[in-house]
Symmetry: C2
Subunit: 333 residues, 2 copies
Amino acid sequence: MSLKDVALHAGVSVKTVSNVVNDFPHVTEAMRARVQRSIDELGYRPNLTARHLRKGRTGIVALALPELGNPYFAELAAEIVDAAAAHDYTVLLDHTGGRREREILVSQGFRTRVIDGLILSPIELEAEDLEERAEQVPVVLLGEREYDLPYDHIAIDNVAAAREAVRHLLSLGRRNVAFLGARRGSSRPARLRLLGWRAALDEAGLVADDRLIAATDGWGYADGAAAMAGLLDAGHRPDAVFAYNDLIAIGAMRVLHERGLRIPEDVAVVGFDDVVEGRFSAVTLTSVSPDKAFIARQAVESVLSRLGGARHEARRIHAGHSLVCRESTLGRA
Amino acid sequence: MSLKDVALHAGVSVKTVSNVVNDFPHVTEAMRARVQRSIDELGYRPNLTARHLRKGRTGIVALALPELGNPYFAELAAEIVDAAAAHDYTVLLDHTGGRREREILVSQGFRTRVIDGLILSPIELEAEDLEERAEQVPVVLLGEREYDLPYDHIAIDNVAAAREAVRHLLSLGRRNVAFLGARRGSSRPARLRLLGWRAALDEAGLVADDRLIAATDGWGYADGAAAMAGLLDAGHRPDAVFAYNDLIAIGAMRVLHERGLRIPEDVAVVGFDDVVEGRFSAVTLTSVSPDKAFIARQAVESVLSRLGGARHEARRIHAGHSLVCRESTLGRA
DNA sequence: CCCGGGATTTCCATCGTTATACGCGGTCCG
DNA sequence: CGGACCGCGTATAACGATGGAAATCCCGGG
């Protein structure tokens, strides 16, 4: 069921059928109708693989995220799928687990040439890994990590957002604000949010107490719970917690609840990402809300705009954010 | 940078390079080494698009899920991506929003011929929609909906699972067990879990009270919250809730909490899916836990096994499940 | 009546890879 | 010593679609 079959059936040449399929201008109405009838009759559908081979484009962009299980990334993926669909593009999904080796694999194009572009949210990837990229498909980076590389990068202003979050806690009179979610072993991820945390404390004339920075292995509920338990077990009792993300925050809240500490009376909690989970926890979660739809749209547009080989300057695009205040800081209304 | 370039560089024919790349048996060591050196030197990577055109396979399976935002589907997607990777397959992701039109679109192969197979989790799709499928790529169905169609179908025994869940509630002495999450307007989804609910009540000699069945528009937190609020506002005060899924259950718990009802003392709650969220809510959630890894593995293997056009009988594959009891029914340990 | 010229349609090469058929030495056997 | 056979490589034709050149058609004008 190829162009050839249709051509045979309609008694015309292959190219004429192709012209009809592609809406070429110079085709008579009569001819168009005749070919179209054959197409309908045979139920012809173009073979995209062949088309892509010829055109050099596949209509597929890859999206590589650390963890689909994290609702922030799941929500973002959903938005990106929609944004890509608006441009007739499809999304090929991969998750890296935030592991450097997998991130390298993805960035080097292990799906060789079936994708037109890559949207990558790196965690442990280093700049040198990206420099080695032999692939020539355009890349767009998402997320907190910053690289001095000629790739577009889309993220919210993490420092500012973190600072606002901590300011909010300080404005409530809290003085011992813990930070949950610095990556254990590696100083790079979470760096910007930690900077924001420090900045807010500094400008309030407080000393940032490094013992209130709790490292985690990952960024899930369990990590947040473990980090919170670790802090409390070590005898530190912050009166507020700023978490790297909502999952960590919710995990921490669970532990606070178990230990009989009230939220926000004893400990106020702020998360990051504004995932839907935080709106339905027993104590709803105050959180930094990034403009996910904007990020998704920008990511897709940015990667597609580079397709033609357009070599415009690498851009750092800041998405908007806002602090959504809920019960975990304000208490029950 | 194609086979031709490598062939030129190595001074051999294109096919010989191809033979080396594909590990064909009859190539001398010397020749293999020589070609391999050229390959390495030029950094050649095969063009999968062309290979797929020739072979008729793309190495891609599509996965169509209702909502990535639902952690159950996100977790399942992650498992499927991994399971596919184990077979050197990649996953093309789509979400249907559970809307019939999008499900039809997906099932009719709008990604014409770039995919080798489709794993579909339908919500509103009807049997007739699938009968009209002109596409010849194999399909595997996931989830609760049942169709009398020649496609493999992988799901847990929803009736049995629901019955166990409700039995558990009854064993705790509860008598008024509400069901949250019957789809408003359509009787099909949730049918099996409702059957299980009824069966458990029947076998306990209780009368299923239809007023305790709460319909929802979707299956998110907000829907659960709305359904629970609706029941309470209508003056019904069940002493237990069995929810269609965990999100609905958590949304319901949030409302119970707002209304000052204690879980599980006043109202016990059981969910379905065992998503990680339920393990970190203030009151951890008792839930039916489907064997996601098995479902993912089976789905991938099933769809790939049909590739050769093997026309073996359509199978109904039951994945395992278990009831994980937590605080929302047993209370704080 | 024939020709120019624009509008249509056809022909051919091409994208990168793999399958098929064959050529070319050499070896083995009768 | 000649022919069948084997192992290794090469040439060539697909796969299905598209872009550009070439061929054809149709009309009015000279």
